[in-house]
């Protein structure tokens, strides 16, 4: 320990009595541990790598003893079982099923929390549906640069989303039907949807304008015209004629998006009303997505709670979850031109969206309604990596310490 003393002097560290006292204390604890945990002691003695003279033979030696070899133990993976299962919901009706979609997509079916792959593998990876608007809407610069050629042409926009941006699905936002905007007729909305079904063959989400009466009228027309396509009708809310909507969704073989404003009791209540007409496999829920920085914490916790409750047997919350992740762009930091140290916003904006998406991915979201191609690509990449479960080359990890970027 003369060496130790010298080191301390070199370091300008006083040979503090506190430190000595502390060390003595630790050694006492250590001794107690050894006495109490006979199993450990055996393990330690049996490790075999120790030269005989180092083994603590005397009491004095034992007092000072620090472990000389690894005290090997096992980590017990904390596996739990869940009584509940999230419903599986199929989107998109193929030709054989009365629709025209190229293929169907199934989401949900989880029997463990999101990406707890140490418990259960991922059954159906989350999917992304890209936003397409039926008229000009305010778009942030970072988004507009990617879609400027197709704004105003929803069919071309849908094609771009699928063919270039890798969207699994497309959401048609029928903004123009809003009585306070263009007040477009249900017939006009049908025509827009018709064009999109011709342009792409992925499953579609049909989005309304938020007016409970107008949306119901338009959805009635669309569900009827496109019976068998198994669209996701976005959305059915508490202030709509729930019975009427549930009936036309069911009759024509579509799926309802049950939307509630960040309150699990309201979500349960709306789902119960839908159960009178729809099966569990016909409902996806949207618990409201708030942007990073503008309530993401509430959205995250609400979704995490809903998923855990569903897995614990609360059937009213055991539905796949959809997130309007595009709401991330409501955060000013996503689109605003800021001081130079926060630029470029062309990167900040999509990162804002993908951060919102990944946070909710880990809460259990199954379906992401998104906007920016880079955010979509990243979410899909991450999901693919998590699903593949490929093993890392662990031998290289420690190299980060000496990495020269």
């Amino acid at each position: 320990m003369a060496d130790k003393k010298k080191k301390e002097e070199d370091a300008g560290l006083p040979f503090s009595p506190d430190l000595l006292e502390l060390l003595a204390k630790f050694q006492e604890i250590e001794l107690e541990d050894f006495m109490l945990e006979a199993g450990d002691l055996e393990l330690w003695m049996e490790s075999g790598a120790l030269p005989a003279q180092l083994l603590p033979k005397t009491k004095a030696a034992a007092l000072k003893a620090k472990p000389l070899a690894l005290m090997a133990t096992k980590f017990l993976p904390p596996i739990e079982t869940y009584s509940g299962k999230i419903a599986e919901v199929k989107l998109g009706g193929t030709k054989g099923e009365g629709g025209t979609r190229g293929k169907s997509i199934i989401i949900g079916g989880e029997t463990a929390p999101a990406f707890y792959t140490f418990e259960k593998p991922v059954l159906h990876p989350p999917v992304v549906t890209l936003d397409v608007f039926d008229m000009e809407v305010p778009l942030s610069k970072a988004v507009k640069m990617h879609v400027k050629d197709v704004v105003g042409d929803p069919a071309a926009w849908a094609k771009l989303a699928v063919e270039k941006f890798g969207a699994d699905m497309v959401t048609v936002h029928l903004i123009s039907i809003d009585p306070l905007l263009k007040d477009a007729t249900p017939k006009a909305a049908v025509k827009t949807v018709e064009e999109i079904t011709q342009a792409v063959d992925v499953p579609l989400v049909i989005g309304g304008c938020g007016d409970p009466v107008k949306d119901a009228d338009v959805f009635a027309e669309i569900t009827e015209t496109f019976a068998g396509e198994r669209f996701l009708i976005s959305s059915i809310t508490r202030d709509m004629d729930v019975e009427r909507c549930a009936k036309f969704v069911k009759k024509n073989g579509h799926v309802a998006l049950s939307f509630t404003p960040m309150d699990l009791n309201l979500a349960r209540e709306l789902n119960r009303r839908l159960y009178d007409f729809l099966g569990k496999e016909d409902i996806i829920m949207d618990l409201t997505t708030a942007a990073l920085g503008y309530g993401l914490d509430y959205a995250f916790t609400n979704m995490e709670r809903a998923r855990l409750a569903g897995l614990m047997g609360d059937v009213e919350l055991a539905h796949p979850m959809s997130s309007g992740t595009t709401n991330a762009w409501a955060a000013r930091e996503a689109w605003l031109k800021m001081a130079p140290e926060w630029e470029p916003r062309e990167l900040r904006g999509p990162l804002w969206e993908v951060t919102t998406a990944l946070t909710l991915l880990l809460a259990g979201v199954d379906l992401f309604m998104m906007m920016h191609p880079a955010a979509v690509k990243t979410l899909k990449d991450v999901t693919a990596k998590l699903v593949s479960g490929k093993k890392a080359d662990t031998s290289k990890f420690a190299n980060w310490v000496s990495l020269k970027p």
Partner: protein
């Protein structure tokens, strides 16, 4: 799965009565509370510490004090890095899911420097880390630590680099080298700074343990994707006398990402739900491994990958992360995310509706309205405040909805706005009848005019534009 299982008393099981029973019951008010029961309630809510009860520290209450300490011990140990004002606390988690209580000690973000960087580069990177600052709804978002890595493997170089860093910043340090001699050389340049040491491995743990004890430093335990080894090392180091550990199960961003998430999740669950003490330490994530397989990849892509990986780690239980990129666009989302995840979920989503007054408004001052969603309100309020203008703000009860979702979900309607204006009493305070409404509520502007009798001016879509709007447009 239940929220109440686990060897240790779960957070939900503690009642104020459990605490009260062990308090001195003097009702002396020395803690600042009305009586011991009130103090016990605050203890259970983790709003005060038992150390704030002076009588409890007396010899005759020692047993009760120790018992209370044990009862209140977090599932994840709180480890302090650094000294003085800038010291950071890592871990100290009580629960696995934030809705079970709340998370404490936000993930610390460390920016790295190396012993082969020029002194200018080191100084610049530290400056960037220290000057990172963003005002967000009443909080200042900052970075927390500097990680000094030995890329040279040379003890003297490392010492010089640590010396330079320690002279330049008060931020707590992480000293990184797997060679104990190199690490110690660095430690000598900052012997009393209580840096976090990185790291004890299967190969060097004994030497690292000696350093941690000698310099009274917390120590990271590293075992890439090998939890058996990780807990074995933790057990050994505890027996050795090193009490303040941080666990690094390895960060893998490509192949191995699933394992990484699993490891962080399993460790946290074992600590919080299973009472596994060897897992009950803060967790370290290293998003900067994104720079390892850089190849020909553009730097922006690497920074992007590092940034979103940090977000994943912040959500999934990392208590400290090490990053290389210093760009604001990449760090801002992460600091905001961290703030969000660590916000107390017990706080209400909504603020009180009613009339809010800014500055000293008179009868000609502008009148705005916004919703009672807490974040909307604070954003608008801070924009009005920062412009130092005199104004009235009517907060409309929207059940905690923001403006756009409120309009879409019929939580923010023209009659609610009209009612709120009447109820606020603002009509007796100003002589004009001009209401500036949020741009995102423009859809209901006509209806508001009709129902309230006020002339509606559609304001900007984002409240950051309010000051400019007032200068350009406002006339009573």
């Amino acid at each position: 799965m239940t929220e109440r299982e686990g060897k240790k008393a779960g957070i939900k099981e503690l009642s104020p009565i459990d605490i009260y029973k062990l308090l001195p019951k003097t009702n002396c008010k020395e803690c600042g509370q009305e009586n011991c029961m009130a103090f016990a309630t605050k203890i259970v809510n983790r709003e005060v510490s038992i150390d704030q009860c002076p009588p409890l520290r007396k010899k005759e209450h020692e047993k009760a004090y120790k018992q209370l300490k044990e009862m209140l011990k977090p599932a994840v140990k709180e480890v302090v890095v650094g000294v003085g004002e800038k010291a950071v606390k890592l871990g100290g988690k009580l629960v696995m899911y934030r809705h079970e209580f709340t998370y404490f000690n936000p993930t610390a973000i460390a920016i790295d420097v190396t012993d082969e960087m020029s002194t200018d580069e080191i100084a610049n990177r530290i400056k960037r880390a220290e000057q990172f600052s963003y005002e967000y709804i009443g909080y200042t978002l900052k970075l927390d630590m500097i990680a000094v890595r030995s890329t040279s493997g040379d003890a003297e170089k490392f010492k010089a680099a640590v010396k330079k860093v320690a002279e330049t910043t008060q931020l707590p340090l992480i000293l990184c080298s797997l060679n104990a001699n190199v690490l110690e050389s660095g430690l000598m340049a900052a012997p009393k700074a209580r840096p976090l040491l990185y790291a004890a491995t299967l190969d060097n743990w004994k030497d690292m343990a000696e350093l941690a004890l000698m310099y009274n430093c917390p120590l990271v335990v590293s075992a890439p994707n090998d939890l058996d080894t990780l807990v074995s090392l933790a057990k050994t180091l505890l027996a050795y006398g090193v009490q303040d550990l941080v666990l690094d199960p390895g960060t893998f961003l490509n192949d191995g990402l699933a394992d990484t998430l699993n490891n962080f999740t399993m460790l946290r669950r074992a600590a919080c739900k299973g009472g596994e003490e060897l897992a009950g330490f803060p967790l370290m994530g290293v998003p900067m491994v994104a720079w390892m397989d850089k190849g020909d990849t553009a730097e922006e892509i690497v920074k992007w990958r590092e940034a979103y990986s940090a977000a994943i780690l912040i959500v999934r239980y990392a208590d400290v992360v090490v990053m290389h990129g210093t760009d604001g666009w990449a760090l801002l989302p992460n600091t905001v995310l961290r703030q969000n995840i660590y916000t107390d979920p017990r706080k209400p989503v909504a603020v009180e509706p009613g009339l809010k007054v800014f500055g000293t408004p008179d009868e000609n001052s502008p009148v705005f309205f916004t919703t009672n969603f807490a974040l909307t309100y604070y954003t608008v309020a801070s924009d009005i405040e920062s412009s130092k203008m005199n104004a009235y703000l009517v907060v409309v009860e929207t059940e905690g909805s923001a403006v756009d979702s409120g309009v879409a979900g019929r939580k923010l309607t023209a009659d609610k706005v009209a009612d709120a204006i009447k109820a606020s009493g603002v009509e007796s305070k100003v002589k004009h009848r001009k209401l500036i409404i949020p741009g995102k509520a423009s859809r209901i502007s006509g209806e508001i005019e009709e129902l309230s009798g006020w002339k509606v001016l559609v304001g900007p879509r984002d409240s950051s534009e309010i000051p400019k709007y007032i200068i350009d447009k406002w006339q009573p």
